[in-house]
C-alpha cells in the first residue's frame, strides 16, 4: 500500500482507517467544516494527531517530519507563498516551465510576481510545485475549486498521468463529478467521520 492509516485521530476528527494503493485515487466529499482538510493535515503531520500512518509500509514515526512530508505531499486549498516572485517557490524552475503548459499556464508566469496571479493561476502553480518532485502520495485539497472547465480537464489529465506512474492520490473536493471521474473509491465526511459514498 502506498498510503495506509490506522486509527488516525485528533480531538476534532477521526478515527480514520484507510488504505490507498499505488495508482489509486480516493475521493472525499462532504460539507465545509466536516473535517476533510483536517484529515489531510493530520496525514501530512501538520496538526497534532494520534494513530499510525505508513507510506510504502514505512511507518511515519520512523522518519523526520520533513522527509515524511516530501513523500506524502499536501497541497492546501489556499496555497501559501513565501516570496514576492513566483520563481523562488520552485526548486527546479526549468522543470516547472516545461510542465506549466500542460495545465494551461504560460511559462512567463513563473518569473512574474505572485501578487499579479489570478486565483486560478495560483492554484495551478501550487499544484505544480507539489507535483514536481514526484512524491509517491498526493494529498490534494480542492485542487480545482477556482478553475474553469477547461483547466479542470487539464489538471485532471495531469493527475491521471501521475496515477498511471504509480502515485496514490487522496482527493478532497466539492466537485461531485470530478470525484466520480477520478475516485475509484469515494467517501463522504460527516462530522469528522468517513462513510462510503
Amino acid at each position: 500500500m502506498r498510503l495506509r492509516l490506522a486509527g488516525l485521530r485528533s480531538a476534532l476528527a477521526g478515527p480514520f482507517d484507510l488504505s490507498v494503493a499505488a495508482g489509486a485515487c480516493v475521493a472525499v466529499t462532504g460539507p465545509s467544516g466536516s473535517g476533510k482538510s483536517l484529515l489531510l493535515r493530520m496525514i501530512a503531520d501538520l496538526d497534532p494527531n494520534e494513530g499510525e500512518v505508513w507510506c510504502d509500509d514505512v511507518p511515519r514515526a520512523a522518519m523526520p517530519a520533513p522527509e515524511w512530508r516530501r513523500r506524502v505531499a499536501y497541497a492546501a486549498a489556499e496555497p501559501g507563498w513565501w516570496a514576492e516572485t513566483v520563481a523562488p517557490h520552485f526548486s527546479d524552475l526549468a522543470a516547472a516551465k516545461s510542465l506549466a503548459g500542460a495545465i494551461g499556464l504560460a511559462p512567463a508566469l513563473l518569473v512574474g510576481l505572485v501578487a499579479r496571479l489570478s486565483t486560478g493561476e495560483r492554484q495551478r502553480l501550487a499544484l505544480l510545485r507539489t507535483l514536481l518532485p514526484a512524491p509517491p502520495v498526493l494529498l490534494l485539497d480542492e485542487p480545482t475549486a477556482a478553475l474553469d472547465a477547461g483547466s479542470v480537464a487539464q489538471v485532471e489529465a495531469l493527475l491521471r498521468a501521475r496515477l498511471a506512474a504509480g502515485a496514490a492520490v487522496l482527493l478532497v473536493t466539492h466537485d461531485a463529478a470530478l470525484a466520480a471521474r477520478l475516485g475509484q473509491r469515494r467517501f463522504a465526511m460527516q462530522a469528522g467521520k468517513l462513510a462510503p459514498a
Partner: protein, 266 residues
Amino acid sequence: MKPTLPLTAPDLAIAALLVVLDGVLSVALGLGLHRQLAVAAARMVLQLVLIGFVLRYVFALASPAVTLLVVLLMMTVAAREVAVRPEQRLARFGNFAVGGAAVALATLLTSVLALTTALRPQPWYDARYAIPLAGIVLGNVLNAASLALDALLGAVVRERASIEAQLALGATIGVAMRRLVRDAVRRALLPIVNQMSAAGVVTLPGIMTGQILAGVDPMEAVKYQILLMFLLAGGSGLAAVATVLLAARRLTDGRQRLRLDRLLRR
C-alpha cells in the same frame, strides 16, 4: 562626589511651576489633562525619591545578596513589560518565560562584561555601579525583546499559510521560519541603530546631559556614553536573538509543526 551645582528644594519648586503651567493650559484649553498631569508628576516625584532612598540604603549595605535581589526584581518587572506588549500570547505564560530568559541573559552578560573589564569597580559587583548599569541596560534590552516578540508572534499568525506551504513541501521548520526570525531581530535592533546614529548630532543622550550638568568634563561624559552605547547595542542584539529563538521554539514541536494552537489572543 558632590555635584558642582547642588540642587535645593526651592530650585525644584521653581521648575515644578512649569508643570503647573501645563495644568493651567489644560484647564484654559479644555484638554481635560490636568488631573492626569498632576497624578503623573506626583507619581514621578514619589517614585524617584523612593528609589533614591532605596539606592542610598542598598549602596550603604554593600551586600552582594541584596544587590542581586534588586537586579532580579528589576528583571522581573522588565520581563512582565516584554510579556504584555505583544497582541498575541504564548500559552502557559510563554511570553513571560521567553521575555524573562532573554532579558536576564542579555542584561547579565553585558553588565558583568562591563563591570569586569571596562569599569572595574572594587569589588566588581559594587551596588553603586551594578544597579544603575543593570538598569540602563535593562531599559534597552526590554525594548528590543518586546519589539522582537511582538514582531515574531504577529508574523507567524499573518504568515501561517506561507510557513505551512513550505513545511508541506518538506522544508524544516527552521527554513520555513528563517525570514520571520530575521525580520523580527532586525526590527528589534532598529531603535539602537537609530539611537547610535543620532547620538550627539540630533540628541544629547540623557546620561551624558546629566553628567555634564552635574559637573563632569564633557570628554569624560562622552567616554561613558560611548561605553554605554556599545553595551546597549550588544544587549539589544542578544535579547532580540534570544527572544526570537526561544519564542520560535515554543511555536513548534518534535514533528516540526507550526503550533499556532499555543497562541492565545488577548
